[in-house]
């Protein structure tokens, strides 16, 4: 029994409650929020430190022994995801100090952000399927509130689609959990790993596996279930978009990876081949959708879809190297994608638009911002020596080892098209001369020095992280390898949860 897996849930929850208690004072809310986010980062580093090197921490809630109570489990993958959540949490919290307007702050933006963090950390740490469903709901309700916060017409329009499709997904997940319980009589994931091997009706088991895949597929926005994402992610303020794009879809991918390595490995030939096709189509449709867009946030939204394909690809290939690639890709992508959204916000603040036609000449007026954009943009496309290069390299190597040449070609082609999209933003927003402002010349308000510092600090920090991972990939690679090893051989996980070994 260890208290460490509980802390990443307790810290943001406490922060949220304190924040709601301090509803009247915006200043107090902001201070609480920043302190809470910093505390979460510290706790997540502590957790990562304790599981480094193969340790698995387990906390049995209410002291019920394993298959009966709810277990919280932190293995390498969970701890890595919680750590990256902590990083994004503090980055977005700092950025939102300057990005979120007074009205949205008064509607409890900061406490809601921490409720969302609670849900995300809970989903990463739980070792119980029904509990996973509950954390998904916590996440969902907080994200609904954040999405409609301040409620403009566009936000409501996007939210209707987001809410509708995500509610279907949770109901599918609920049905799948119920059916799996009916077959095995347990909800504990470690126990399920053992019990599904005794299920005789493997056809039904595969059907339930597909039901899970569809439910998590909607969450993680894979082809052909991604339509809610580009319809909604560009509508809320940038700080919220950045947080959503970094973490929410990745929770879906995490859940896919967890269930399809720990529970549903009885028919890899069927389930993982299906996932492979889904991954390839997701990569292609996402990147083609992005090529057709002309608004920075919409381009970035479609790229989330395309990049999700890479992560699912790592799971679908199902070799040690491919899983290392998937984990590495998730961690790299969260940093890079959040950063690109944050930069698009600064572009909007300084130039008054997200629309590429209305932008231009930013490199001349803000060369530093241009360089900061290029780092995550080129990393997303997979150019060395940035973090995305290593992520793609591992996946390509994994696909070559399996002699999956078509997949390898798709990976390379999609990388090239990503580069096309990024250079399009670069050329239109930064390089070409600034067009004569057609309408609303006052939109580009002057950004104060203090505000600018608050906006730029997280961007610079995340960009440095991207460069650091690119130049010195060893620690992250090591972490991904530990995670992949535990995923492929869950015996340690099962023993830690059921045997009570710390």
């Amino acid at each position: 029994m260890s208290w460490w897996p509980v802390l990443p849930i307790l810290v943001p929850l406490t922060t949220a409650i304190l924040g709601f208690a301090a509803m009247r004072s915006l200043r107090a809310q902001k201070v609480i929020s920043i302190i809470g986010a910093a505390a979460l980062l510290v706790v997540s580093i502590g957790l990562l430190d304790r599981v480094w090197g193969g340790g698995i921490l387990v906390a049995q809630m209410g002291n019920w022994p394993a298959p009966f109570g709810i277990s919280l489990v932190a293995d390498a993958l969970s701890a890595a995801m919680v750590f990256i959540t902590g990083v994004i949490g503090i980055a977005v919290a700092v950025y939102s100090l300057a990005d979120i307007d007074r009205r949205r702050n008064a509607f409890a933006f900061h406490p809601l952000l921490h409720v969302l963090l609670t849900g995300v950390c809970g989903a990463f740490l739980t070792g119980d399927l029904f509990n996973l469903y509950v954390w998904f709901e916590v996440m969902l309700i907080a994200s609904f509130a954040l999405l409609v916060l301040g409620g403009g017409r566009a936000q409501l329009d996007g939210a209707v689609k987001y809410v509708a499709l995500n509610l279907i997904s949770t109901l599918l997940l609920l049905s799948a959990v119920g059916l799996l319980y009916g077959m095995t009589g347990t909800l504990n994931m470690a126990d399920l790993h053992l019990k599904v091997q005794e299920v005789e009706n493997t056809g039904l088991l595969t059907a339930v596996a597909v039901l899970f895949a569809v439910a998590f597929g909607i969450k993680s926005a894979v082809f052909p279930l991604f339509f809610w994402l580009p319809a909604s992610y560009h509508t809320p303020p940038v700080a919220i978009s950045a947080f959503f794009s970094a973490l929410l879809t990745k929770v879906g991918v995490y859940a896919l990876i967890r269930t399809f390595t720990l529970i549903f490995t009885h028919d890899v030939g069927y389930t993982h081949t299906a996932l492979l096709a889904v991954a390839a189509l997701t990569m292609i449709t996402g990147v083609l959708g992005a090529a057709a867009q002309n608004e920075i946030r919409r381009i970035l939204s479609f790229h989330i879809v395309s990049q999700i394909g890479y992560m699912v690809l790592g799971l679908a290939l199902f070799t040690p190297l491919a899983l290392i690639g998937a984990v590495f890709y998730i961690l790299h992508h969260i940093i890079v994608k959040a950063n690109l959204f944050l930069i698009s916000g600064v572009v909007n603040r300084t130039a008054g638009s997200f629309d590429l036609d209305a932008l231009g000449g930013l490199y001349k007026s803000r060369p530093f911002l241009g360089v900061l954009f290029l780092i995550p943009a080129l990393s997303l496309a997979g150019l060395p020596p940035l973090s995305g290069f290593w992520a793609k390299l591992i996946l390509i190597k994994a696909s070559l080892e399996l002699e999956a040449y078509v997949i390898c070609a798709i990976v390379l082609l999609v990388g090239l098209l990503t580069l096309f999209s990024m250079t399009k933003i670069w050329h239109e927003a930064f390089w070409k001369p600034r067009p004569v402002p057609r309408e609303n010349p006052f939109a580009a308000a002057v950004v104060g020095r203090r505000e600018m510092a608050l906006l730029m600090t997280p961007i610079v920090a995340l960009a440095s992280l991207t460069v650091a991972i690119g130049l010195y990939a060893e620690p992250l690679m090591d972490l991904s390898a530990q995670a992949a090893a535990q995923l492929l051989d869950p015996s340690d996980y099962v023993r830690a949860v059921l045997g009570g070994v710390p």
Binding site: L171, S175, G178, L179, S232, H234
Partner: protein
């Protein structure tokens, strides 16, 4: 009894699909409510039905005597009902707000957040109706 529940769940899902295929977002929401009920009944049935044997432990015994009803699926259903209630209430409030702001419940006309249509599509009947 399981057969009856299975048929009931199936009919509820069929009705859900019918309602969700509508362009009217309110019908979609009713579909969502039905789907939630179908999922709850499914869990209930999947947890095996044991008639009139509550899962109670008699005085002095350490475990229930004989076969009793499984309380866990019922607890799961209860949790799901509570969560579903909250989410449905939010969804209805959201759709009402969207109706106030956008003036429509037709999902085809809800495209404020989408890029503008090109000129050839602009003269659709939906556009005329709004103009009139």
């Amino acid at each position: 009894m399981e057969t009856v529940l299975a048929i009931l769940v199936g009919s509820l899902v069929a009705a859900t699909v019918f309602l969700m295929l509508s362009r009217n977002i309110v019908k979609f929401l009713f579909g969502l409510v039905l789907l939630g009920n179908a999922a709850n009944l499914l869990i209930f049935a999947a947890g095996r039905l044991t008639y009139a044997r509550p899962g109670l432990i008699p005085d002095g015994a350490a475990a229930p005597l004989g076969d009793v009803a499984n309380a866990l699926p019922q607890a799961m259903v209860l949790t799901a009902i509570v969560i579903g209630f909250g989410l449905t209430a939010f969804a209805f409030a959201l759709v009402y707000r969207a109706y106030q702001e956008l003036g429509t419940t037709d999902t085809d006309e809800m495209r404020v957040a989408e890029p503008p249509l090109d000129a050839s599509q602009l003269d659709t009947p939906a556009q005329d109706r709004r103009a009139a």
